[in-house]
């Protein structure tokens, strides 16, 4: 009787275990892949920020985000080195999540900067150069007009 009871309890325990979600640790290969993916994401975002800066955008806010993501990436590398694969994978995931939408923002800043640069070129460079020439030509024409008026006056006298 006692034996049957023990067997039943064991069976119940085994059956109940099937309801528990199986928890797998992250393998070294998966963690390394997650960290490599985060590495590539950071590089891609850096290149977007660099392109935006080259177009004349103020990228200081983007660089703050990149710095934060870079810190997570460094910690992920360290965790990978120390064999904490769960932690490495989680940190790499956080790093990638932090950079979600980054490229879009960088591209938006780049477009705005290019537009502003275009306006700046026409107003400040072409506009002022043309304006300066106009002032010189205008001055010369005014001088000619004043001199002509004086000659007419002299002729009339």
């Amino acid at each position: 009787m006692k034996f049957v009871f023990v067997v039943l309890v064991l069976c119940a325990l085994l059956w109940s275990a099937s309801f528990v979600a199986v928890c797998h640790g992250v393998s070294e290969a998966d963690a390394a892949s997650a960290v490599a993916n985060a590495d590539q994401t950071v590089i891609g975002c850096y290149q977007s920020a660099a392109n935006a800066e080259q177009a004349g955008a103020n990228v200081s806010a983007l660089l703050v985000t990149l710095d934060d993501a870079g810190l997570l990436l460094s910690e992920a590398h360290l965790a990978l080195l120390n064999g904490s694969f769960d932690s490495a994978s989680a940190l790499a995931g956080q790093c990638v999540a932090m950079l979600e939408g980054f490229n879009g923002t960088a591209d938006g800043l780049k477009s705005s900067a290019l537009q502003a640069g275009f306006v700046d070129f026409w107003v400040n460079i072409v506009g002022s150069a043309v304006g300066a020439v106009a002032v010189l030509v205008g001055g010369f024409l005014v001088w000619r007009f004043l001199k002509g008026k004086k000659s007419v006056k002299a002729g009339a006298v």
Binding site: I43, A50, G131, L136, F140
Partner: protein, 200 residues
């Protein structure tokens, strides 16, 4: 009225007004181009000054520093500072001739993104955990804690230097720069280090 005698002042005024109108364009054209492109790397003491650097180190004690980078490369740069720790006999980065990094593995990488003509600086807090071996007389390191990250120094030791009466330790920060065209980090030929006396 003889207008001819006002010719010079008139054209001077016209020229001055013309220069004023042209000044936005001239300010872009008459700029000396940048010819020197470089990066700066510095280490400051706990008060953010080039003084009071930690030297006599006790095991388990926290010490503060500031690490900074200046970017004059003409573009936004992606740097990595490799943190290394060495004793007297281990490879050191070179300062003269062929500039090469230490061959030791990096214990930790500090990433920094710095805008062109921008600077970047962070506080660093570090501590060492080590013990003393009597025969041979040496310090045996177990870990370096840098800004909360525990970095293993298992297997590292520093022998007693009788000439200088110290257990030597050297905390090295090497600057590496991401090269966009090759997509790899390259040693940027700059390092700063902090030479330490591990007291017991």
């Amino acid at each position: 009225m003889d207008i001819s005698k006002y010719g010079v002042p008139f054209f001077v005024v016209v020229a001055v007004v013309s220069l004023l109108v042209a000044s936005p364009a001239l300010s872009r054209v008459l700029v000396l181009p940048r010819t020197e492109f470089f990066s700066e790397l510095w280490l400051l003491g706990p008060n953010g000054m080039a003084e009071n650097y930690p030297y006599n180190i006790s095991s388990g004690q926290n010490y503060g520093l500031y690490l900074g980078i200046g970017n004059q490369l003409g573009y936004c740069a992606y740097y990595v500072v490799e943190v290394k720790f060495r004793n007297e006999t281990q490879s050191a980065p070179t300062s003269f001739g062929t500039l090469e990094p230490s061959s030791l593995p990096s214990l930790f990488n500090i990433t920094a993104f710095v805008a062109d003509e921008g600077t970047w600086q962070i506080p660093l807090t570090f501590s060492f955990a080590y013990g003393v071996n009597q025969t041979p007389l040496e310090v045996e390191f177990s870990s370096l804690t840098l800004n909360g990250a525990v970095l293993s120094l298992q297997g590292d030791s520093s022998a007693w230097n009788a000439t200088e009466s110290r257990f030597y330790g050297d905390l090295v920060f090497e600057l590496w720069l991401f090269n966009s065209s090759t997509s790899v980090f390259q040693y940027h030929e700059r390092f700063v280090d902090l030479q330490l006396n591990m007291t017991v």
